[in-house]
Amino acid sequence: MADTKVPPGTAAPDSGSAPGSRTGRPSSPPKAGRTRARATAGTGRLAALLVSPTLLVLTIVVIYPTIMALNESLYGPKGLDPKTGFISNTEPFVGLRNYTDIFTQAGDRFWNAFWNTTLFTVVTVSLETVIGVAMALIMAKAFRGRALVRAGILVPWAIPTAISGLLWRWIFNADGIANVLIGHQVLWTADGFQAKIAVIIAEVWKTSPFIGLLVLAGLQVIPKEVYEAARIDGAGALARFWRITLPLVKPALLVAVLFRCLDALRMFDLPYILIGAQKGSVETLSMLAQNEASNVRFGPASAYAVLLFLYVFLIALAFVRLLGADLVGEAGDAGGAKRRRAARGRRRALPAPRRAEVTA
């Protein structure tokens, strides 16, 4: 709102073409560019200095373990010496065998877990997006008792996953409320297709509020005047949603969906607690890796974890590259100079007409 009241001329004092600059002479665009570059170099050095402790910590807590995991994934399980009955102390180096096993002996279980993970991600995130946006629209409306509705919608997100897993296990118990409601006994926690549905229901219940929350934040920065103008132009509720709400909330929504995807891909605790370990119908990649590690086969476990890491990485990359999800945030300083300039240009290009329209 404060933004809209500033006259267009003074809105961007840093732009080179601003009239009445302090030097008194009209500054040419290339020169302005150079001064900015010099300033960036100076602040860049300071930034590097300030950021380096963070990078150091990141190296220790992220990069080093990742490399260790990669290294570990090249070793096989320890063997048992039949004479002494003892397990050998060293793990044999097996090269890429842990990975090639996926196409042979360990394949069925891996691909089952892979498809489960993918299915859960696609289905839950789609449902959550629809429900989350609906929740956000409700929460954004001004009505009596809104605070109560907001709190109510956010409760599932506040409950730890392990606890909600237990909660849903009671609901999906053979004599639980779910079966009473549908009037038919479905054994939800037994291995089978119904277990997948149980996991999806519990997951959607738990994490839709997350998307709702982020979308609500996105909704609140859309100026009301835009809607007023649309209404005057005769746009219906549906048209206003498709033409105004959705495009303007898209950046926030994309980030929310990306976060949910990354989260859903590493889903572990909900199926583990709700349905149980080693249930083929709900086993995810994380559960598979955990199961291998718990049986002291750290090599194969690392291999699965590395593959999951790559999968998550590719999905995140696809989001950023193809859909343009801006993870860093438009005003973020961490992005590269080129990207930052592009983002700035975009920002200046986009709101300018809106501003003019509003003040007009």
Binding site: G79, G85, I87, N173, Q185, L187, A190, N291
Partner: protein, 433 residues
């Protein structure tokens, strides 16, 4: 050998003086089967140690530790509590061992972990002659051994029992609890004619796909005269006897002797169904007794040994042992503490205050205790006839394979013959290494 024996005697007398409490500690050396590795370990160092076990819900463990700490102010024991479920306990102990940390000294291990922990040399071989093993129930002692050597000391035991609705059986004119499966189903048919038992199911155990299924499958197989692994640890499940055992479970699901929803039952689900008057018979651990006594079926139930194919059945053994971490410090203190903690006095205290089944045979014959826990004679019978679950190094994989195949058979995805054949192949692969 001579040298070894002298050091053993020396150790014995030293610990006797130090422990001060235990007169039974140094028995004859006959108990151990000339276990060579057991003597390689020297238990050196005195000072503070830790005791690592699952959550102490009754507060009794801390009491016993306090008693020790009062007697040994310079060798204090700190109690490290792990989560309640066995899987996370095992995981934390393995992590501790993998990093060779000395944070854990004495470990409370599940009876099925002994082989795995011993094979990885995460736990120390123990001098068998320093523990009163002869006074303990034999199947319990067996769970503490790996390849004939003692790697742990039994601390508590557990066995499955058949809980049954004595009031309904009486009304149906049945005086004796069933001792075979056929008798049990016949009794059920009679009981289900009673108006009170209209919507009741006959029998349940633990058939969800988890460790409980392995226990129930092992009980069915052993009760039919079969075995999962033979005396040499080789898999032996593809037999007619084992098939009879598995068929009992599969057919009971088919003809609804076991209710359909029991495929999702863990211990607690079965107990709740029994207490909610939905089951005539229930196979479960003794802990159910105290809780059911507080429910609406109080006084209306009793316990009996598990039924089998041609006579009383065979239970799987539960319970926990004490093991000594290989990476710990102050092992001399640890050994003394293990003797103290697994002593008959401690076991009796745990029985009286936490209703933990003791490994000692004598305690089951205590008339005062029998009054407090009327199930003790049945429990003793259950434990003495019990068979430990497969004692293999790869227990985690073995139990997964069992759960996988048995679950497929129970849910009708495989015939019992095919499931056992596949299980035999899986187990052979797992124990081949």
């Amino acid at each position: 050998m001579q040298k070894i024996r002298t050091t053993r005697v020396l150790q014995c007398s030293a610990t006797l003086v130090a422990a001060g409490l235990l007169l039974t500690a140094c028995g004859s050396s006959g108990g151990s089967s000339s276990a060579a590795p057991a003597q390689n370990t020297s238990f050196k160092g005195r000072g503070p140690i830790t005791y690592v076990a699952g959550k102490d819900t009754t507060g009794t463990v801390q009491t016993i530790i306090n008693r020790w700490n009062k007697l040994h102010p310079k060798e204090k024991v700190t109690f490290i509590q792990l989560p309640t479920d066995a899987d996370s306990q095992r995981q934390q102990m393995i992590q501790n061992a993998e990093t060779k940390s000395d944070a854990y000294t004495v470990l409370a291990t599940d009876v099925v972990w002994t082989s795995e922990f011993a094979a990885h040399q995460w736990i120390e071989p123990l001098p068998a002659n320093q523990f009163p093993l002869r006074k303990m129930l034999q199947p319990v002692v067996e769970t503490a051994k790996y390849r004939g050597n003692l790697y742990a000391v039994p601390a508590s035991s557990n066995g499955g029992m058949l809980f049954y609705r004595s009031d309904l059986l009486k009304q149906a004119g049945i005086t004796q609890p069933p001792s075979t499966w056929a008798e049990m189903t016949a009794d059920c048919a009679k009981v289900e004619k009673l108006p009170e038992a209209k919507n009741m199911s006959c029998y349940a155990g633990q058939f969800q796909k988890y460790e409980g299924l392995t226990v129930n499958f092992a009980e069915a197989v052993n009760s039919a005269g079969g075995q999962i692994t033979d005396a040499n640890g080789k898999p032996d499940v593809d037999t007619p006897q084992a098939k009879k055992g598995l068929d009992f479970l599969v057919n009971s699901f088919k003809d609804k002797t076991i209710p359909k929803e029991a495929i999702t039952y863990q211990e607690e689900d079965g107990r709740q169904a029994f207490q909610a008057k939905k089951l005539v018979f229930l196979n479960n651990w003794p802990y159910v007794y105290a809780l059911a006594q507080k429910s609406e079926i109080a006084g209306k139930f009793a316990v009996a040994p598990l039924p089998g194919l041609n006579g009383p059945g065979t239970s799987s053994l539960g319970g926990s042992n004490l093991a000594l971490s290989s990476f710990a410090k102050n092992k001399a203190t640890a050994l003394d503490f293990m003797k103290f903690f697994s002593s008959e006095q401690s076991a009796s205290y745990f029985l009286k205050n936490a209703s933990l089944a003791p490994p000692y045979a004598d305690l089951y014959n205590d008339t005062a205790l029998d009054k407090q826990y009327p199930y003790l004679p049945v429990l003793k019978q259950s434990i003495t006839h019990a068979v430990p679950r497969p004692r293999v190094v790869q227990y985690g994989d073995v139990t997964s394979a069992i759960q996988q195949e048995v679950y497929a058979a129970l849910t009708g995805k495989k015939s019992s013959a095919q499931a056992l054949k596949d299980l035999q192949a899986d187990l052979q692969k797992l124990t081949a290494q």
